[in-house]
Amino acid sequence: MRALRALSLANLKSFVRDRAALFWTLAFPIVFVILFGTIFAGGGAQYQLAWVDQDGSATAAALRAAFEANAPVELKDGTFEESKSRMLRGDVDGILVIPKGLSAVIDAAHAGQHPDPIEVTVVTDPSRSNTSLAIQQIATGLVMAANLQLSGASPLLTVRPDALQTQQLNGVSFFVPSILAMALMQLGVFASIPLVQQREKLILKRLNATPLPRWALVGSNVAVRLVIAAVQTALILGIGIALLGVKVVGDPLPIAGFVILGALTFTSIGYVIASFARTEEAANGITSVVQFPLMFLSGIFFPLEVLPDWLRSVATLMPLTYLGDALRQTMVGGAPFMPLPVDAAVLGGWLVVTLGISARFFRWQ
C-alpha cells in the first residue's frame, strides 16, 4: 500500500510537472466548455426575430416595447423584404409582421366598436421545428396578452412556468455533461501515452526489477487518472454552474459513480492501445484514430435521433454514448436514451472486455 501511494504520488507529480500534458487534460476541456457555452447560451433561450412594422403608429411601438421586455427575443427592425433576406442568411429565426391598420382597429375597439380582427403574421422555418414552434408560441402569447389587455378584461387563468425536463434541455445543459464525458474519454485513452513512454524509456522494466507487484503499478496509474478525472469534473461542472447557469439536479453519488466508471472504462481502453503501440508515436497515432470515432459516432454532441440509421447503430455500440447518456440523466435530468442500469452495464462490459485484452497483450518491456 505504501508503494502504491508513493508511486501514485510520483506519477501525479510527473503529470503536474509536464506542462503540456497538464494543459491538454485540464485547460482544453475548459476552453471547450466556455466555447460551447457561449455558442449555445446565445441560441438556447434567446430568439432573434425580425420586426416588420407596417403600421408605424405609437400603438405598434408600445406593443414592440412590451414584447421585447417580456419575451426571450431580440428584435431587428426592417421592411419585410429586408427581413426575408436576413432570415435566409440565418441572421434571424423568424419574422413578425405588424400589419397596416393595427392602430385603427385598436382605436375602434377602444371606442366600443367591434372591428374585424386584423392578422399579425408570423414567419418561421418549419425545417427548424423546435425554434419554429417556440416562436409561434411566443407570438401567440403576445397576441393573446394584447387581446386581453385591449379588451380590458382581467385574466382569470394564468400559467405558472415549471420544468419537467424531457428532450428540450437548453444547449448548455445538454453540452456540459457531454463535454465532461468527452474529457473523461480523452483522459482515459491518453493514459496510453505515459504508459508507452515509460515502457520505451525502460521505466517499466526497471520497476519490474524491483519487488513492486504489478497490481500496484497498474493501480497507481489508475489512481492518478481518477484524481485527474475528479479535478476535471469539478472544473467543468464548476464552470458550467457558475458561468453558464447549468443546474445540476441529480444526486452527487450516481454522478460520481458514473464519472469513476467512465474514467476506468476509458483508461482500460488506453491500456489496450498501449498493449499494441510499440512506440510513443504509434500510441499518439492510435489514440487519435480511436478517439475521433469514439467522439463523433457517439451521441454526445448530437441527439441520437438526428443520426441516420446506420450511424445510430454504430453509436449504440460506443461506450461514450452511454457515459454521455448516464451523465446527462444524472446531472441535468436529461431524457434517457437507455435506463441507467443499461448504461452502467454497457460501460462495465467494455471495462471487462478491454481489461481482458490488456491482461493478455500488455507488455512491460
Binding site: 508503494a3 508511486l7 510527473s14 509536464d18 521505466i203 526497471r206 519487488p211
Partner: protein, 311 residues
C-alpha cells in the same frame, strides 16, 4: 570448466539457453559467482551478456536451464530474490520529472527494507543534485543515480550492466571506487563490460562471452596464463645491444623491434633480466625505460575469437 555449485555460490547459472526467434542470444551458459566477489561478463556488444544478466535478475525467463540466486530458483522466488538484490540496467531508466531525492525515496517504498536516502546521496556524491529533476542530470550523475537506485534496498547482490559505458575517464574512475567499496562492504557483484581495463581493474573473476557462449572463465591472471606463458621485456632501442646477443639471452624466444623499443619475449623474466643487466653493464650502460608486460585480456580475446574486442 566449471565445478558444481559450491557452498558459497551466490549465483548459479546452469546450462541456460535463450533464443529470440532464430537468434540464439544465450546458447548454453553456465557459471557461478561466489559470495563477496566481483564477477565480470566480458564481451562485445551482442555477445549475450545483458540477456544473461537480465535472466538472472528475473526480467526474462530462460528457454531452458536453471538459475539460482541466494539459493532460490528465479522461476519460483522472483519477488523474494528481487527484495535482496539491486539492479542497474544498461540504460538509466528514470522518471524525468522527479528529483533525485524523490526517486530514491520512491524506490525505497518498493522494498521490505531500505537505506536512508541521505546515505545514498552521500555515498554516490549526489548531495548537490538532490533537488534536481533527473532529466537535468549529466551522464555521470545519471549513472551514479542509477547505481544509487540499485543500492536502495541495501542489497546482498548487485547487478551492474555496463556501468561506465559513455562516461569520461574521471567519472569512470569514480564509479570504480564505488564498485570497490561495494565489494568492501561484503556485497557480491555481477557486472558486464566491454572494457578490458575495467575487467582487469575490478573483476576477481571473469567469463569471456561471444555469440551467446562463454569461451573461457577464470581470473584475468589465469585467462592470460593459459595462453600466454611468455612475458615481454621492453626497453629503449637506442643504445641497446645487438640482436644476436639479445637472442642468445636465457629463456628468450624471440626479439621484436617496435618503433623505439626492443621487446624480448621470455618464459623466465628474472633470468632474462639478470642476463640483460649483466650484458649492458659490461658495455658500461643500462637498459633505458625497462618494463615488463604481460599479455592482456585483449590478446586473450583475440586468441579466442580471432577478432579484436573494441567498442
Amino acid at each position: 570448466m566449471l565445478g558444481r555449485p559450491g557452498q558459497d555460490a551466490v549465483i548459479t547459472v546452469d546450462d541456460v539457453f535463450k533464443a529470440y526467434g532464430d537468434v540464439k542470444a544465450v546458447d548454453g551458459v553456465s557459471f557461478q559467482v561466489s559470495k563477496g566477489e566481483i564477477f565480470g561478463l566480458l564481451g562485445p556488444n551482442g555477445a549475450g551478456k545483458t540477456t544473461t544478466m537480465e535472466m538472472i535478475e528475473g526480467l526474462h525467463a530462460p528457454d531452458s536451464g536453471a538459475i539460482h540466486v541466494l539459493g532460490m530458483d528465479v522461476r519460483h522466488a522472483a519477488t523474494a530474490i528481487k527484495n535482496r538484490v539491486g539492479v542497474q540496467l544498461q540504460t538509466a531508466a528514470l522518471y524525468p520529472q522527479l528529483t533525485v531525492t524523490e526517486l530514491l525515496s520512491l524506490f525505497g517504498t518498493f522494498y521490505a527494507r531500505h537505506q536512508p536516502v541521505e546515505r545514498l546521496l552521500e555515498d554516490l556524491e549526489l548531495g548537490e543534485k538532490r533537488n534536481a529533476q533527473t532529466k537535468n542530470l549529466s551522464g555521470g550523475q545519471r549513472q551514479r543515480l542509477s547505481v544509487a537506485l540499485a543500492l536502495v534496498n541495501d542489497p546482498e547482490v548487485v547487478f551492474l550492466d555496463e556501468p561506465t559505458t559513455g562516461l569520461d575517464p574521471a567519472a569512470r574512475q569514480g564509479l570504480w571506487t564505488v564498485v570497490r567499496r561495494l565489494k568492501g562492504e561484503g556485497r557480491t557483484i555481477l557486472m558486464t563490460t566491454h572494457y578490458m581495463e575495467e575487467a582487469e581493474a575490478l573483476c576477481d573473476r571473469l567469463a569471456i562471452m561471444d555469440h551467446g557462449r562463454i569461451l573461457d572463465s577464470g581470473t584475468a591472471e589465469e585467462l592470460i596464463g593459459r595462453r600466454f606463458r611468455e612475458r615481454g621485456v621492453h626497453f629503449r632501442r637506442a643504445g641497446a645491444p645487438d640482436q644476436e646477443k639479445l637472442q642468445a639471452l636465457p629463456a628468450v624466444s624471440r626479439v621484436v623491434y617496435e618503433e623505439d623499443e626492443v621487446v624480448l619475449f621470455t618464459s623466465d623474466v628474472p633470468a632474462t633480466i639478470a642476463a640483460l643487466l649483466e650484458l649492458t653493464s659490461r658495455a658500461g650502460t643500462e637498459p633505458a625505460d625497462l618494463m615488463i608486460r604481460r599479455a592482456s585480456l585483449e590478446d586473450v580475446f583475440l586468441e579466442l575469437t580471432g577478432r579484436a574486442l573494441r567498442d
